[in-house]
Symmetry: C2
């Protein structure tokens, strides 16, 4: 019947374009529907064209008639087809005219970009490609093998059991109150921060906090002062917000903050506790100067207090935030080091007006955190599970620091000098300037050990005779083996 | 001994400024240390000033001498104090000179802001304040009471047991491969999206995806076209990136896309499947026009496909992304509706170059997702737990839609007209224009039911005789009660 219609010439041309693959993931009826829609897009079927009856098409394609009917229903519900009162199925007259693109290549959309990206310098990411077995003296990664996973899993289950529906729905973008209470209790005690949970915003790790802060403080062109040797991911967040970064040198007392009097930045990003990457603790004098300059010049101090807990010799120095009476310090912390990076739990405490703005931005960025995980972590804090874990890994990292320092003295004595840092998760080693450090790093990688030269952390990207060796993620045996491989790589160079 | 020193005049003035609160959260030794540091900051103690001996101060303050020693150690480690060879403890000579601020008020830093925030219009957030017992016909929230929490908790535990250390450390910012594989398998099958996990980026809910996309596409001043009645949180993300929004009207076929030919935006944000908030499905004709305009004018279509699964009558319409051959569609989806908003798992699939840029930005925003939760959700997808849950809630929401529509017909027949939507989690109700809708909403809230008038979703903020009633988060009994309360509020208004 359909084929008596003049329009069927179209359909005749179209008789067998449908390659059905019974093994494909897409059901057969959808394969048929997609092929028809595709032919409309290409202009091979036009508005008002009749389609063959379902029985005819089913025979042609050797499929069950119901399959064809399902394909037609699919296309009808999408508006491609219309069924006319007298019977018969037609390409909808509502569709716009499409120019035929008969031989348009079938390019997957993934490989084409039909619009332009905004300009912007973002870090390029690649999957790490260290060969299996490489010992990575990474730049400050804790040992996730030590995390008490069973208590975490139990706490997560209890959180869901106790308040599942509330935690799985929309909630407080500042973070679960229970977690903010637990954090406030711990941090007011240990770090002299406010004891009020309303003074905290829980973020996606410290990176999440820094990105929010950058978006709240920076308008394009604003100057942000950073440490000339420093933490690149934080710089990226300020740059992404449009900041122009100005480096400030770092010496044995920390950042040379007096230079900020002439730079007059909008904000300064600093790591005063264990300067990243040099591990220096900012002196009390510099701290007072920094607070005073910020008060006078009205700039914000973004204090990244990422590893407060890991201080081995003497007591940790209280953060700048604990001495802030002018409302100039934005204090960023994280549970990444004390617990686990993968949980992505950080926090920020700041003057109330900024905290409110950060909350507003947070809603735009990702609405809220994972409240179930936040409750689980709160339970671990309430039960002192985190604190016990922190004490345990602090002892362990202390031993690892000593093992690394000893191995360096023993195997790399003439070449590498380290002052054991008072805290942190890495040493900053001075290298004999006659050594070609970049070549050593390359050879060491071939020998199965990865470590980072100062260049990696330098704002100017220039080489310096220093390297950072993280000791937290490897046990003493692994650390000794890592140093052995470093020494081997060095000897190879010498004998070459 | 110390008091024979002339410097002790300072200390004499300073004899009892330390108010010790034994019940405070801060340990006593820290209270003492803070008081001394505070006096240095205020200029009441100066560089080189001697402090009383630990025994003397302990007696004065009626504390154990070890407490004073601990305070001094704290201050020494922070660099405030120095101990001289001949004995005695002094304020460090290294500190900068501080002008005395004798009567500076003790203002907590939280209440002061010592710097300026960047300009920026972000949404203001407040804790929801509906009185307990209010029935909330919210704007598209699933019922978290239906989520299978036990399988989720089990899957989380298994993920930690199987690969805890890897999942708790730093990992792939694109999302766990396992989750991307599970999503790709489901979405290529159901929505005609790419089957390749490398084509997906897992995000923090759809909001996280839209914010990343906005940052990748928009430079300040760029025009983004949005639906004139639409989804405000997405608008905020584009505005935060500096976009100028231009509204495009919506009619019974969806967004009037032909207007984009003159607007020539940099991107268009749209909800073609179930238009938010009007629930209209964009017609096939408009879809083709939209794709063609985007191809010609090189703008991006950000397709928010937030509730694909919830289609009750007929089959869901395949997303624009499944028909994108020009590389113009950025497809955003979420597990918030099909599983739970609290898990914050969304995804985006887009042309490869954009996906790479999104990954770079994601590193800056929050580094990576929660890989343990991502693995847990992947397991629920692999075991078809999510799919079973989706079928179950789809049946349930279908029944709820019918219950709501029926209750409206019955109790609000003359006042409110609803076409049962083919899918989604809300109805878009037409209201008799003679009704004062804002007054009704206010009275309804007093009667214990919250619903949202069209004004809430309108780009121009102007009233229209429509309201959106979400039905997914309340069961049929609750829905009938909600409508009863709405009718009650209306009668009150009439009789008033």
């Amino acid at each position: 019947m359909c084929c008596a219609d003049v329009r069927c010439s179209t359909v005749a041309r179209w008789q067998h374009p449908i390659a059905i693959d019974p093994d494909a993931a897409l059901p057969v009826f959808l394969q048929i529907a997609r092929a028809i829609a595709e032919d409309v897009r290409r202009g091979r079927l036009k508005r008002g064209d009749a389609l063959p009856g379902s029985r005819t098409l089913a025979e042609e394609l050797s499929v069950h008639r119901n399959t064809v009917l399902a394909a037609y229903r699919e296309l009808s519900s999408e508006g491609w087809l219309e069924t006319k009162r007298g019977g018969g199925t037609f390409i909808s007259a509502e569709l716009p005219e499409t120019a035929p693109r008969a031989f348009a290549p079938r390019v997957a959309s993934r490989d084409r970009l039909g619009f332009d990206l905004a300009p912007g310098a973002f870090p390029h990411w690649e999957l790490p490609t260290h060969p299996r077995g490489t010992l990575v003296l990474a730049s400050g990664v804790p040992d996730a093998r030590l995390v008490p996973t069973a208590p975490l899993a139990r706490a997560y289950r209890r959180a869901l059991e106790l308040s599942g529906p509330a935690l799985l729905s929309y909630g407080d973008p500042r973070g679960a109150l229970r977690l903010r209470e637990a954090l406030a209790a711990m941090l007011s005690h240990l770090r002299g921060l406010p004891a009020d949970p309303a003074s905290f915003l829980v973020t996606r790790g410290s990176q999440g906090a820094i990105d929010l802060v950058a978006r709240a403080l920076i308008k394009p062109g604003d100057v942000v002062a950073v440490e000339a040797l420093g933490y690149r991911p934080a710089w990226s967040a300020f740059e992404a917000a449009g900041a122009r970064l100005v480096p400030v040198p770092v010496d044995q007392h920390g950042m040379r903050v007096e230079q900020l009097a002439t730079i007059k930045p909008r904000a300064v990003y600093a790591t005063p506790h264990h300067q990243f990457p040099t591990m220096v603790t900012m002196s009390a004098g510099r701290r007072l100067t920094l607070l005073e300059l910020a008060r006078v010049h009205r700039f914000a101090i973004v204090e990244d207090d990422y590893d407060f807990e890991f201080h081995y010799d003497g007591r940790p120095v209280l953060p700048l935030a604990s001495a802030d009476r002018a409302g100039v310090v934005v204090h960023v912390g994280t549970l990444s080091k004390i617990l686990a990076p993968g949980l992505r739990i950080g926090f920020v405490t700041a003057p109330a007006a900024l905290l409110e703005r950060l909350t507003s931005i947070r809603i735009v960025v990702d609405r809220q955190g994972d409240l179930a995980v936040e409750h689980a972590v709160a339970e671990l804090l309430e039960d002192s599970e985190v604190q016990r874990h922190a004490r345990r890994v602090k002892r362990e990292y202390h031993a690892r620091r000593d093992a690394l320092v000893e191995a360096i003295h023993e195997k790399l004595g003439g070449v590498m000098t380290v002052d054991p840092p008072a805290g942190g998760m890495a040493v900053w080693a001075k290298i004999d300037p006659s050594i070609d450090l970049d070549a050593w790093v390359t050879r060491a990688l071939a020998a199965g050990v990865a470590f980072l030269p100062a260049r990696h952390f330098a704002f100017d990207g220039r080489a310096r005779p220093f390297a950072r060796l993280g000791f937290a993620s490897l046990d003493p045996r692994e650390l000794r083996e890592a140093v052995r491989r470093m020494a081997l790589a060095l000897r190879k160079r010498r004998s070459a």
